[in-house]
Symmetry: C2
Subunit: 360 residues, 2 copies
């Protein structure tokens, strides 16, 4: 068995100890005589898994008691509709469009009310995050929406918009648990887990109590109403048990690593190795504006599509996998999530240096 360095943007690399534990428990989870996949979601064993996952997540992120943690299905894309359905009672919402994902969310919201685009960086091919000091939140907005880390363009909000009493809703899919955040600054923090947390098929929403109610848009499916999940401990129907189990193991692993402060340090160190190389390279160039760079997704190019293709192919031969940029932008992208070891980033940079020498 040879493991590769997997730079996929998601689904993405998971901690090896988590995979080993999952394999070891596959036929008999802790003496229950069955796999987690075979377990009734109403069983004590599974309730224990769910409760531990929630407690560990609360602990890791410092989630205040007045926030609910919801385990959901359908990915962030389903929440693009659920968010206006749950929050747009006043019919107005503000969106900041900093990439493909916030743009998709914005478009979906327009179907349910008056969604305003407060600012957009589409004019610069989403290579930057719009300036926060020029953001003016609508006085009648039900919420302000951002995608905090745009996976495709490799940008991160290093500063949040000032929204006053208007709740801030943030898609954190690709920066989930990458560093400590102040949960109280947000009304809703949510994301698919398949980038930095666990396997595809689970979305987590952390929602402030007062934003969960029966007063949703009339056509809201029962399953998309957050109150349905909140009132039923995320088990109105069968939840994605396996994805919750694996995510829970990742939470434990994160705690073993020292929690989010330690992860943030490691993530900054890892990102610096790659960005420092890019900044001195004569061949490679990072595409995101420096001050908006993501810690998790690092897109770069040579400026020559053929050379990009050659790099991607040769990298794969060196055990550096899934380094190709998103099909919508081309070039390369290294996703260096929590579970990517520092050696992986060093191996990538070493290979980039060798490739640059050869192709100078």
């Amino acid at each position: 068995m040879t493991r590769v360095y997997n730079f996929s943007a998601g689904p993405a690399v998971l901690p090896e100890p988590v995979l080993q534990q999952a394999a070891a428990e596959m036929l008999d989870y802790k003496g229950t005589g069955m796999s987690v996949m075979e377990m009734s979601h109403r069983s004590k064993a599974f309730q224990g898994i769910l409760d531990a996952a929630e407690a560990d997540l609360r602990d890791l992120m410092g989630i205040p008691a007045n926030y609910k943690v919801l385990f959901l299905q359908g990915g962030a894309s389903t929440q693009f509709a659920a968010i206006p359905m749950n929050l747009m009672g006043g019919g107005v919402a503000d969106y900041i469009v900093s990439g493909s994902w916030s743009k998709k969310a914005f478009k979906e919201a327009q179907r349910y009310g008056r969604a305003n685009c407060l600012a957009s960086s589409e004019d610069g091919n989403f290579s930057y995050v719009p300036a926060m000091d020029s953001i003016k939140v609508s006085s009648d907005a039900d919420y302000v929406y951002i995608c905090q880390n745009e996976t495709i363009y490799g940008t991160l909000y290093h500063q949040l918009p000032e929204t006053g009493t208007v709740p801030l809703v943030a898609d954190v899919s690709s920066c989930f648990l990458s560093e400590p955040i102040d949960v109280a600054r947000y009304g809703v923090i949510y994301g698919g887990v398949q980038k930095n947390v666990g396997p595809a098929g689970l979305a987590i929403a952390i929602v402030r109590d007062d934003l969960i109610s029966d007063e949703v848009l009339e056509c809201t499916p029962t399953m998309l109403k957050w109150k349905t999940a909140a009132d039923n401990g995320s088990m109105y129907n069968t939840p994605p048990c396996w994805a919750i189990y694996i995510s829970g193991l990742v939470f434990q692993w994160l705690k073993d690593q020292g929690g989010l402060t330690a992860m943030a340090e490691r993530n900054r160190r890892k990102a610096a190795v790659l960005y420092d190389f890019l900044d001195q390279s004569q061949l490679f160039e990072g595409t995101a504006r420096k001050e908006d760079r993501s810690l998790m997704n690092v897109p770069f190019i040579t400026g020559d599509a053929d050379l990009d293709a050659k790099f991607i192919a040769e990298a794969a031969d060196h055990g550096i996998q899934n380094i190709k940029g998103h099909r919508s932008v081309g070039g390369m992208r290294a996703s260096i999530y929590n579970a990517m070891p520092e050696e992986g980033v060093k191996a990538l940079v070493d290979f980039m240096a060798a490739f640059e020498k050869e192709n100078a």
Copy 2:
């Protein structure tokens, strides 16, 4: 490691060879150097998994070419809304209510148009399936809805309603792949996979081409529109990759067992062992009407709640797990899905006989 006989109604027992393969491939799927959970859904390896799963399912069920297979999230409960959203363009639908699940689907549909209850067996605590010969489909109905096997009450439609040109929509969650069916009799066949197919977190819908269109109810979330999944090969966003992978392994296992004809024979044999015992028992009694009995879910009682509790507790000590009836009805329920070996059913009946002797 001791495996138990797991009679859970879902999530439920999976074939042991499938679990073994999943454990063996956990850190390195077929030389890719990564787990299926870590794999980009846009990778060739995952596309291969998805394509094989669909091809094997088509083969097993004999799905005609004019039906699409959609891999979805959110369980059957999300489809309770998606079905009217996708099909109720004319504003009218007929429902047959034969248990909790069809009742829930009926209630959700009432929120989106005029949903008629054609027949109900609620007067008999859902112990039977309404008579098919008295069913009169509304001439203006967009579809007729049934839940083909009601998991909680252990009933199965042994005959389908005659719906003429009106499409029949069937929730088959708890009888999925339990025996061959004539797909062409249905407009939509769908279900959560967590009972008879795979792990929780995946729903499969088999939908006739002409029922998939952009003409959905106006408020339909993009992710609930079947055309979104159909146009994007079930990958508009990241699908529940792991659940698709495991379901695919189960499809292969079913083919290895001889396909659905062989499974149906085995399932009838297994069910007969249990029903024959119940029919001669002086202590235990099956609760579903004989002619409507499910092959998959067998609810039974002693008529004495304390004795039921004693039976459930002692059964657990004998490695017979999750035999408790649904919290809404009490008593016992043995779910004997495809992956429950014949020895499991025999062990249950042997234990029931011994218990009856002791507690006569």
